[in-house]
Amino acid sequence: MTTSEAKQRLLLYRGPIDDADPQFQEALAYARRDAELGEWLREQTECYDSIRAKLRGIEPPIELPEKIVRNRPIPFPRDSSRILQLAAAVLISVSITALLMKWSEHRQRPVLGAQEILVTGEVLDMTCYIASNLSGPEHAKCAKVCIRNGEPAGIKTRDGKVYLLTGNPGDSINAKLADYAAQIVTIKGKQTVRDGFAQLQVEEIRKL
């Protein structure tokens, strides 16, 4: 190795951080033997240290770390609970899609043929029931008025199924149903279903 080659190599030498790097070993050994090269190397490393100190002396704005933390996105959690949440979300999504498909399929179907059935349950004022979940004896007075005034009426069975009650096409049955508002009755009628919605065309009402 010549002095020139050693200089070329030591041009990149930074000091202790590069001591373990084998590419500098031979050149460093050469510099230890050559006083002039050794002096040159000492000057170079001092310059390196001085430039490094100046660059590292630059102070970032005080508010920067706070700004970084404040503006960060919500991190993606890596724990298993998050995975379970994601799995649940996927499952729910798939279920909703399946339901929508079924619903869509259902919409294509013709109305099920009218079927005569007996239904026992409470006569509801559908408007108050759906909007405000109002039913039962405490709502009887209101339900009676509402049904009499033409609001839709329904019947809710013990198992929670609700039917919209109608008369024969063109005839309102509200006046008759108003007398049974919030009472438990058995209604004989023709059931039709569309889009999951059940309607009962009233033929006969019996008070239990």
């Binding site: 930074r14 170079q44 100046k54 590292r56 970032p60 920067l64 970084i68 993606f76």
Partner: protein
């Protein structure tokens, strides 16, 4: 905002170095802040993909450098450049010459260097990264990195030598 001590600790540990690297690359305090913020933003989104925790620092510097290149629309593929054995002679410069300039003056000299040479030189001076780590950070071959650092260092020292007034 929910607290995330892990993220905050990481910011505290590395934001000064990233800011200085960004400032040395751009010469602009605002751009350096933006680059540091973008880097940590990307970390918050993608940092969990890093499997080797010892590479966090290199990952952050790589990301900041990429962001810088993207911003400058200078994303070009690097060619392998072997170490140039016929580099110009290193100018004779003493530590006194260096001591006469301040950090701002030093940054203005760095700005005069080509971007592809500035980044490795800044990492050379600023960070305790090995040459392999610098090469990895900048996604260029080791020989290319060393060649660029050598050329950039000579150029910087020449600028210092020419511009620094005698004592």
């Amino acid at each position: 905002m929910s607290a995330d001590p892990e993220f905050e600790d990481l910011v505290k540990l590395y934001y000064p170095d990233l800011y200085r690297f960004g400032l040395s690359l751009t010469g602009s305090e605002a751009d350096a802040c933006d680059l540091a913020q973008e880097t940590f933003y990307i970390w918050a989104n993608k940092g969990h993909q890093l499997r080797d925790p010892t590479k966090v620092k290199a990952w952050l510097f790589t990301t900041l450098h990429r962001q810088f290149l993207q911003a400058r629309r200078h994303e070009t593929r690097f060619k392998d450049e072997p170490i140039d054995e016929t580099s110009p002679e290193l100018p004779a410069i003493t530590v006194d010459c260096v001591n006469r300039i301040d950090a701002r003056g030093l940054l203005s000299f760095l700005e005069q260097l080509d971007e592809t040479h500035r980044a490795p030189l800044v990492l050379y001076y600023l960070e305790d990264l090995s040459y392999n780590e610098i090469a990895e950070t900048l996604a260029v071959p080791l020989g290319t990195v060393q060649s660029r650092i050598a050329r950039a260092k000579i150029k910087l020292l020449q600028l210092l030598n020419e511009t620094t007034p005698p004592k």
